[in-house]
């Protein structure tokens, strides 16, 4: 077979565009759909079963039929009769969507020495996050967030220090990670592009788990659930530029309300209340974040990745360098990084974010570090190693 160049691929599409079934076949299929649809509208269960039986008995392979079952479960196919055997996507996401309290671990990157955050959700108003040591035995930092008042209490148990942060200029009510998970799943299910891919069974943490991957235009969710209980074991989510993994789920457990108190604990010394403006994060915030990475964290170079595993590795490997700075400075750096990070997270696919900073020296005015296209702009904004910014036409973008 000859090599497929782009011209040949276009020719293939052209040939496909001329593929046509006979009018008889079209009329037959439309008649079948009409009959099934009439039954569907009338809510006649027996007819539903008949449609379903016909699907199952058709020449579509068993694999395809299994995929259809999963999709159908999501759209309420349980009306067709008794429960469907086996674990389905709807079963595994149900506790995430409905539980009163949820506790789980969040990992933003894979690998060794990556901190784990234990997230405790009481409803969706108050959330406690405990940053655990990589071995999971020590609580290194605690964040308690009150989403109603947009305040966050940060505690460092080893130093008995506390700081209250007020989040200002939020474009809308902030969303906790549980809400984010719920919204991603709901948005996925309501999108015309929604699809679920069954991943079969694998052993996860010593348990037999059934996996599903659901994909939408901006998001992708992979869930592994216990094959016996259908409760989630592991969930991997990608949304725009953000990616995280959740493990060790516990649903509807009792939790003490004092865990979510916004009062500074006895014996803790408090830094002055800090304010962070997250709303309206802009390009300047991104540039400031890049400056902190290149100048302070990596001493002269930009990170290999701006968000992702290599970035986490860089931060972890270089964390001792932070010790020379005061708590106030570290807080200031952290807030600047947060604003820059927020700017990237809120970019959409059409903003076409590209990061190419690997190996670029801080101050290099020739080498691009990243670029994106602002919404409604014809040109791209390219940020270089000296943190200068230029408007560049799409055809002139770096290779």
């Amino acid at each position: 077979m000859s090599k497929m160049n782009e011209e040949r691929i276009k020719r293939c599409f052209e040939a496909i565009s001329r593929f046509k079934l006979s009018d008889d076949v079209t009329a037959r299929d439309l008649k079948r759909v009409k009959q099934g649809l009439t039954a569907c509208i009338r809510g006649q269960k027996t007819e539903h079963r008949d449609i379903w039986r016909r699907i199952m008995e058709s020449k579509v392979s068993k694999i395809a039929a299994a995929a259809v079952i999963i999709a159908a479960v999501l759209i309420g196919i349980h009306q067709f009769g008794g429960p469907i055997e086996g674990v389905a996507w709807a079963d595994v996401v149900r506790p995430i969507l409905t539980a009163r309290t949820v506790v789980f671990n969040v990992i933003m990157a894979e690998g060794e020495n990556v901190p784990i955050t234990r997230v405790m959700n009481m409803g969706t108003q108050r959330v406690r996050g405990e940053v655990l040591s990589p071995d999971g035995k020590t609580v290194q930092a605690i964040s308690i967030v009150d989403y109603d008042t947009s305040r966050m209490l940060q505690l460092i148990p080893s130093q008995k220090r506390a700081v209250l942060i007020e989040m200002k200029d939020l474009p809308e009510k902030p969303e906790n990670i549980l809400e984010t998970m719920r919204n991603i799943i709901t948005d996925l299910q309501n999108d015309p592009d929604f699809s679920v891919e069954p991943l079969g069974e694998h052993e996860i943490d010593g348990r037999i788990a059934t996996g599903f991957r659901a994909m939408g235009p901006d998001e992708e969710v992979t869930v592994w659930a216990d094959s016996e209980t259908a409760l989630p074991i592991r969930m991997e989510q990608k949304w725009r530029q953000m990616q995280f993994t959740c493990t060790d789920f516990q649903f509807d457990i009792d939790m003490d309300e004092t865990l979510f108190s916004m009062e500074i604990p006895e014996g803790y010394s408090a830094l002055p209340t800090a304010e962070v403006s997250i709303g309206g994060s802009n390009e300047q915030n991104l540039i400031e974040a890049l400056r902190i990475y290149a100048e302070i964290i990596l001493e002269g170079f930009f990170p290999n990745e701006f968000i992702g595993q290599e970035y986490m590795d860089d931060v972890m490997k270089n964390r001792e360098k932070w010790s020379q700075y005061s708590q106030e400075q570290k807080l200031e750096f952290g807030l600047k990084l947060l604003r820059g990070y927020t700017f990237i997270q809120l970019l959409k696919d059409e903003n076409d974010w590209n990061y190419v900073g690997k190996g670029v020296k801080f101050g290099d005015e020739e080498s691009p570090v990243c670029w994106y296209r602002p919404t409604d702009s014809e040109t791209y904004r390219v940020i270089y190693g000296d943190l200068s910014v230029k408007d560049v036409a799409p055809e002139d973008l770096p290779e």
Partner: protein
């Protein structure tokens, strides 16, 4: 039901092109309308046909991904008549068409929709942009990237062909 009457033929033709199989199209048409019948997204859609169209593309590629390891013989009778084909078309083997469609199923959903609408359904970028709420220039760029990605996927496949079992 109204959508079936007004656009059923067009949706059926779309599924036929994306599956290249007479046997599957009827079942996918049923599944498409069952999904739409149960979808709150469809009830609230500003453009019901556009919504159904994207669900149809998605369904076809969902089926195609599931079938990727199985060889699907092409219904030769449904291809354009020999005398209507250009000399290059004649040279294109039916297996290639399946491979190109399989590779298309690996694109992101947006890139895949744009490729289908532009190259298979032969719609101008301006119309696609209106339907998807994106700028034509962005869609051109996305489409060019998608073709490059398809070329790479097909090249990888050639070097490491997928085999059954």
């Amino acid at each position: 039901m109204e959508l079936l009457n007004t656009s059923g033929v067009r949706l059926h033709a779309l599924l036929a092109r994306l599956t290249l199989s007479e046997d599957v199209v009827g079942d996918l048409m049923q599944e498409l309308f069952i999904r739409l019948c149960r979808s709150s997204g469809f009830d609230n859609a500003k453009d019901p046909f556009a919504y159904a169209y994207r669900v149809a593309i998605n369904l076809a590629f969902e089926w195609r991904r599931s079938m990727r390891l199985k060889f699907q013989p092409l219904d030769e009778d449904c291809l354009p008549a020999e005398n209507a084909r250009s000399s290059l078309d004649v040279a294109i083997q039916t297996e290639e068409l399946q491979r190109v469609l399989d590779a298309t199923s690996q694109l992101s959903s947006l890139a895949r929709d744009v490729v289908v609408m532009h190259y298979i359904e032969q719609q101008p970028y301006e119309d696609i942009g209106r339907r998807l709420g994106k700028k034509p220039q962005y869609l051109r760029s996305l489409s060019a990237k998608a073709l490059a990605q398809l070329r790479m996927v097909l090249a990888d496949e050639k070097n490491n062909p997928i085999t059954e079992g």
